[in-house]
C-alpha cells in the first residue's frame, strides 16, 4: 500500500488495490475509539437499465435498495445479528448512484471486517425471504409517501426530467417491487457487486496492512460491471414548469430547481459542483443580501435552504422550504440571479465563503464515519476528495457569476409545491 500525507489537514491515507481489483483506502485515526468500515458498490437507484449478457435489460424501480435489504440474509444466519453479537453497529443505505454497507465498532474490528466482506460478496436469496421483505419495504415506501419533503422532491425530479431514472424514488413503488424475484437479485449482484465496481474505505485506530490482507482473502474476482443506460440526452429546460399536490401540511412546502449541464469528466464535474455550491451561497446563503431581504420581509424562514446535488449523469440546483408564496420566491431568485453583479462587496463575500468552506472541510475530518463515506463517493465520481481545499481556492469569480446568470433563469426553473388540504 502507498501512504499519502496531507499535512495541511492533519490527515494520512493508505491506498492500494487487491489482486482481484478492489480499491482499498485506510485513514489512520490514532486515539479514536470508533473503528469504521464502508464497503460500497457503484450501483444505486438510478442503475436500472444495463447490458445483461449482451442484451439491454430493464429491472424494476427499487431493485438496488431491495437488494441491499436482502444482502443481510446469509445461509443459516442473518449478518445484522452477527454484528450485534460482536458489539458492532451495522447499517446500509442505497443512494441514487451507490449502495453502501458499513459498521462501526470499538473492538474486534478484524472479525467485523471479515463479516462485512463476506456477507456483501455472498448472494443468498430465497423466494420466501424475498416475498416477506415486500411487507417491510412496502411500509417503508408508504412512510415516504406520508413525508411531504420527499414527495415535493420526487415531484420536482419528475417535472425536471423526461426520462432520467432519478424521476422515480430510490425505494421504487409498491407495484414495482412486487416484480422483484430472487433471479433478478442474483443477476444484479453478479453484474454490479464486482471488485472493480466497488470500494472499501476504513478509518480509525486500525492497521492498514491487515485491512488489505482481509480484502485480498475475502473478495473474489469478478467481471467488469456492465454498461448502463440513464435514458436519452435531455435539454436543460425542464419537462414541466410546475408540479402541485395536496397533503395534510400546515403551509405550502416547496422545492424549486434547475438541471445542471452534466460533464463526463469526474474532476471537471466535481469542480463545477463546488463552484455551483459557492454560487448558491453567494446568491442565497445567510450572508447574502437576497436572503436577508426575503427573510426580513417574511417571505422565507429558517426552513429555507439552497444548494446543489448530484446523481449518476446529472445534477440539479435546488432551493426549498416552507413558505406561503413559493411563486414569489421563484421570482425573487430569478430576478436576483439576473441582477447579480460581481462587485466589490460580492467579491469580498466570495472570499469569506471560501474561508468558511475550508474551515468546514477541516471540521469534517473529525468523523471516522464521514471520511470513508466521502472518500467512496469521490472515488466513484472520479476525483480526489482531499483536493477539495485547492478546488475551492481556485474557483474564479467570473465562473461563479456566469453560473448564476445561466442556470437560475426563469425558463430553466421548475417549481414543485405541496399545498395544504
Amino acid at each position: 500500500m502507498n501512504l499519502k500525507d496531507y499535512p495541511g489537514c492533519g490527515v494520512r491515507m493508505w491506498e492500494g488495490t487487491t489482486a482481484a481489483g478492489l480499491p482499498v483506502f485506510v485513514f489512520p485515526m490514532p486515539g479514536y475509539q470508533t473503528k469504521y468500515a464502508f464497503f460500497a458498490a457503484k450501483y444505486g437507484g438510478c442503475d436500472r437499465r444495463f447490458l445483461l449478457d449482451g442484451n439491454w435489460t430493464d429491472t424494476p424501480a427499487g431493485i438496488a435498495h431491495y437488494l441491499e435489504h436482502k444482502m443481510f440474509d446469509m445461509p443459516g444466519y442473518n449478518a445484522m445479528e452477527k454484528f450485534s453479537a460482536l458489539g458492532a453497529d451495522p447499517n446500509a443505505y442505497t443512494a441514487s448512484g451507490m449502495t453502501g454497507y458499513l459498521f462501526s465498532c470499538t473492538e474486534r474490528f478484524d472479525e467485523c471486517l471479515e463479516e462485512l466482506l463476506r456477507y456483501v460478496t455472498t448472494p443468498y436469496y430465497t423466494a420466501e425471504s424475498v416475498a416477506k421483505e415486500q411487507g417491510i419495504i412496502g411500509q417503508e415506501i408508504r412512510m415516504g409517501e406520508d413525508d411531504p419533503f420527499r414527495r415535493v422532491h420526487q415531484n420536482l425530479m419528475k417535472a425536471l426530467y423526461r426520462s432520467h431514472p432519478v424521476r422515480v424514488s430510490i425505494a421504487g413503488t409498491v407495484e414495482s417491487i412486487a416484480e422483484i424475484t430472487p433471479e433478478t437479485l442474483y443477476d444484479c449482484h453478479r453484474m454490479f457487486y464486482t471488485p472493480s465496481n466497488m470500494v472499501l474505505c476504513c478509518a480509525g485506530d486500525i492497521e492498514p496492512e491487515r485491512v488489505m490482507e482481509l480484502a485480498e482473502q475475502l473478495v473474489p474476482a469478478g467481471k467488469e460491471a456492465p454498461e448502463r443506460d440513464y435514458g436519452e440526452e435531455e435539454s436543460l429546460s425542464p419537462e414541466k414548469v410546475r408540479a402541485e399536490e395536496k397533503m395534510p401540511v400546515s403551509m405550502p412546502i416547496f422545492e424549486l430547481g434547475a438541471k445542471l449541464a452534466w460533464n463526463a469528466d469526474g474532476k471537471e464535474w466535481a469542480r463545477q459542483m463546488i463552484l455551483a455550491d459557492l454560487g448558491c451561497d453567494l446568491l442565497l446563503g445567510k450572508g447574502s443580501p437576497l436572503y436577508s431581504e426575503m427573510y426580513d420581509s417574511g417571505l422565507i424562514n429558517q426552513s429555507f435552504s439552497a444548494g446543489v446535488y448530484d446523481f449518476p449523469r446529472g445534477g440539479i440546483f435546488y432551493a426549498d422550504g416552507r413558505c406561503a408564496d413559493p411563486m414569489a420566491v421563484l421570482g425573487r431568485i430569478a430576478d436576483g440571479a439576473e441582477a447579480f453583479r460581481m462587485d466589490a462587496s460580492a467579491r469580498a463575500r466570495l472570499e469569506r465563503l471560501k474561508r468558511a468552506k475550508l474551515g468546514r472541510f477541516l471540521m469534517s475530518l473529525d468523523s471516522p464515519e464521514d471520511i470513508p463515506d466521502a472518500q467512496a463517493e469521490s472515488w466513484f465520481g472520479g476525483w480526489e476528495r482531499m483536493t477539495y481545499p485547492d478546488l475551492v481556492q481556485n474557483v474564479a469569480e467570473e465562473e461563479v457569476g456566469a453560473f448564476l446568470r445561466d442556470t437560475l433563469r426563469t425558463e430553466r426553473l421548475s417549481l414543485s409545491v405541496i399545498n395544504p388540504l
Binding site: T106, I136, G287, Y295, A356
Partner: protein, 424 residues
C-alpha cells in the same frame, strides 16, 4: 483528556476538556430552565430573536459574515430537553487554530461572539427589537404548526400531550403556536432579563486550549452577566403511575398508521447508570432488539418499531409505523415482548449483545466533542459524575435480573394511534 471545572460566578460553572485529537473545537453555554407551560413559547422565541443580531452585528447578514470570516465557525441557538428541565443557549463549533493559515485567534473570537449573542443583542430604546420579535413570533408559530408535516414526530408529541396532561412534561418544548404571535418585545425583554439573572449556567469547552486560558476568555465574555438572582432549579416531578391503559385514536389523511405507546416507570433509580440503556437496547433500541427482530423482521408488521427512554423522567415511548389493520396485533406483540423480558426470559447472548451495543455507543461518543459535553451535562443534572468510559464499563456489568426488573417496572399508560379516516 485533561478536565478542569471552574466556578466562574455563583451558579455559573465552566467545564473544560483538553484534547489534541480533534480538528474542531466545541463551546457551549447552557441556561437551565424548568419546563413550564407559561415559559415554553418565550424560551423558544427568545433564542430565535437573539440569533437575529447583536449590537455590533445587528442583522443576520452581518452575523453570517462574521462567522464565515471565522472559517465557517457556527454559533447557533440550542434547546435540549432533559425530563422536565429545558436547557437553552448557544453552541459553537469552529476549526481548531492548529490547522488554520496565519495566526488566527479563533478561540477568543468565537467565545467573545457567543458572549455577545447572549448578552448584547440588537436593541431599540433598551428593548429587544420589535420587528425581530414579531417576525420570529411568526416563524415560531409556523414551526409549531409544521409539526404535523412529520407524522411520526407528530404522533409522539400528541401521545406526550395526552399522557402527561397537567404535568410540565406534557408541554411541547416550542410552546403554543398562537401564543407565539401574541408576545411583544416589552414582555420578552423582561423575560430575557429574568432568564439571564436567575438560571443556572453550565458552560462546556472541548478542544486543544488550556483550561485556564478558556476560563479567562469566558470570564471576560460573560462579565456583564447580571448577578444577584437565585440560580437554582426545582426538583424533577415524578408522578406515580396509576390507572389502566387508555386508548386514543385520531384520524388524518395518511398512508401509514403510526402507533405510539407511553410507559411510566413505577419506581425510580439508576437514572445516572447505564442499566436503563441496556434494557432499552435489548427491548427496542437497537437493530438486535426484540422489537426490531421479532415485531419488524419476523412478523413483518412494520418498517420501524423502536423504543426510547427519557432517563430524567423515567418514561418510555414505543413507536411503530404499521398498516391500519395491524393495531391490535402490533400492540399485542409489543406487550408480549415486554412481558417476556419481565419474566426473565433473557438469553445470555442477547443480553451480551445489548451490553456490548450500549458500551460501544458510549465509547464512540468519546469521538465527538459535542457528545462528550452533552453527556457531562446530563450527568451533572442528575447530580452524578462519571465519564463515558466508566459508563461503558458499567454497561458490561448489567445483569439479566436488572433487565427483568426494569421491564417489570414499566407500565403502559396510553396507546395512541394515528390512522386514515374512514371513507365518507
Amino acid at each position: 483528556m485533561e478536565e478542569r471545572v471552574y466556578s466562574l460566578f455563583p451558579g455559573v460553572n465552566l467545564t473544560t476538556l483538553r484534547t489534541d485529537r480533534f480538528h474542531k473545537g466545541y463551546f457551549s453555554v447552557n441556561l437551565l430552565r424548568a419546563l413550564s407551560r407559561e415559559n415554553a413559547t418565550r424560551n423558544a422565541l427568545l433564542m430565535s430573536v437573539l440569533r437575529r443580531g447583536t449590537r455590533a452585528l445587528p442583522d443576520m447578514e452581518k452575523l453570517s459574515e462574521a462567522m464565515d470570516q471565522l472559517f465557517g465557525a457556527s454559533v447557533e441557538p440550542m434547546m435540549r430537553q432533559m425530563g422536565e428541565t429545558l436547557s437553552i443557549g448557544f453552541q459553537a463549533v469552529f476549526p481548531d487554530e492548529r490547522f488554520l493559515p496565519g495566526d488566527e485567534d479563533m478561540l477568543s473570537k468565537v467565545i467573545s461572539l457567543t458572549g455577545e449573542m447572549l448578552l448584547d443583542p440588537a436593541t431599540h430604546g433598551g428593548l429587544l427589537r420589535d420587528e425581530y420579535v414579531r417576525s420570529e413570533g411568526q416563524n415560531l408559530h409556523d414551526r409549531v404548526e409544521a409539526e404535523i408535516n412529520n407524522k411520526r414526530g407528530y404522533a409522539i408529541e400528541r401521545m406526550r400531550e395526552l399522557m402527561f396532561a397537567g404535568e410540565p412534561y406534557g408541554v411541547y418544548p416550542l410552546g403554543g403556536a398562537e401564543e407565539a404571535l401574541r408576545i411583544r418585545n416589552q414582555a420578552l425583554t423582561k423575560f430575557y432579563r429574568e432568564v439571564l439573572a436567575a438560571s443556572p449556567v453550565e458552560l462546556y469547552y472541548c478542544g486543544s486550549a488550556q483550561g485556564d486560558r478558556v476560563a479567562e476568555l469566558v470570564r471576560r465574555a460573560l462579565r456583564d452577566l447580571p448577578g444577584g438572582g437565585d440560580r437554582s432549579l426545582p426538583e424533577q416531578g415524578k408522578a406515580a403511575a396509576g390507572s389502566e391503559m387508555r386508548h386514543v385514536t385520531e384520524e388524518m389523511d395518511v398512508e401509514q398508521g403510526n402507533l405510539v405507546i407511553g410507559f411510566r416507570r413505577r419506581r425510580s433509580g439508576d437514572a445516572a447508570h447505564p442499566t436503563l440503556a441496556v434494557f432499552n437496547e435489548l427491548f427496542g433500541g437497537g437493530p438486535a432488539s426484540r422489537l426490531f427482530l421479532n415485531v419488524r423482521e419476523k412478523r413483518s408488521l412494520c418498517y420501524y418499531a423502536g423504543s426510547s427512554i427519557d432517563r430524567y423522567k423515567e418514561v418510555m415511548l414505543v413507536s411503530a409505523g404499521i398498516g391500519f389493520d395491524r393495531l391490535e396485533e402490533t400492540e399485542e406483540a409489543i406487550f408480549q415482548e415486554l412481558n417476556d423480558l419481565s419474566a426473565g426470559n433473557i438469553a445470555p447472548d442477547e443480553l451480551e449483545t445489548a451490553r456490548k451495543g450500549v458500551a460501544n455507543s458510549y465509547l464512540s461518543a468519546q469521538d465527538s466533542p459535542g457528545a462528550i459535553c452533552a453527556f457531562r451535562m446530563g450527568q451533572g443534572l442528575l447530580g452524578a459524575g462519571g465519564d463515558l468510559r466508566q459508563f461503558a464499563e458499567a454497561a458490561l456489568q448489567v445483569t439479566g435480573e436488572d433487565v427483568a426488573r426494569i421491564a417489570a417496572e414499566f407500565q403502559p399508560e396510553l396507546s395512541y394511534f394515528l390512522r386514515k379516516g374512514a371513507p365518507e
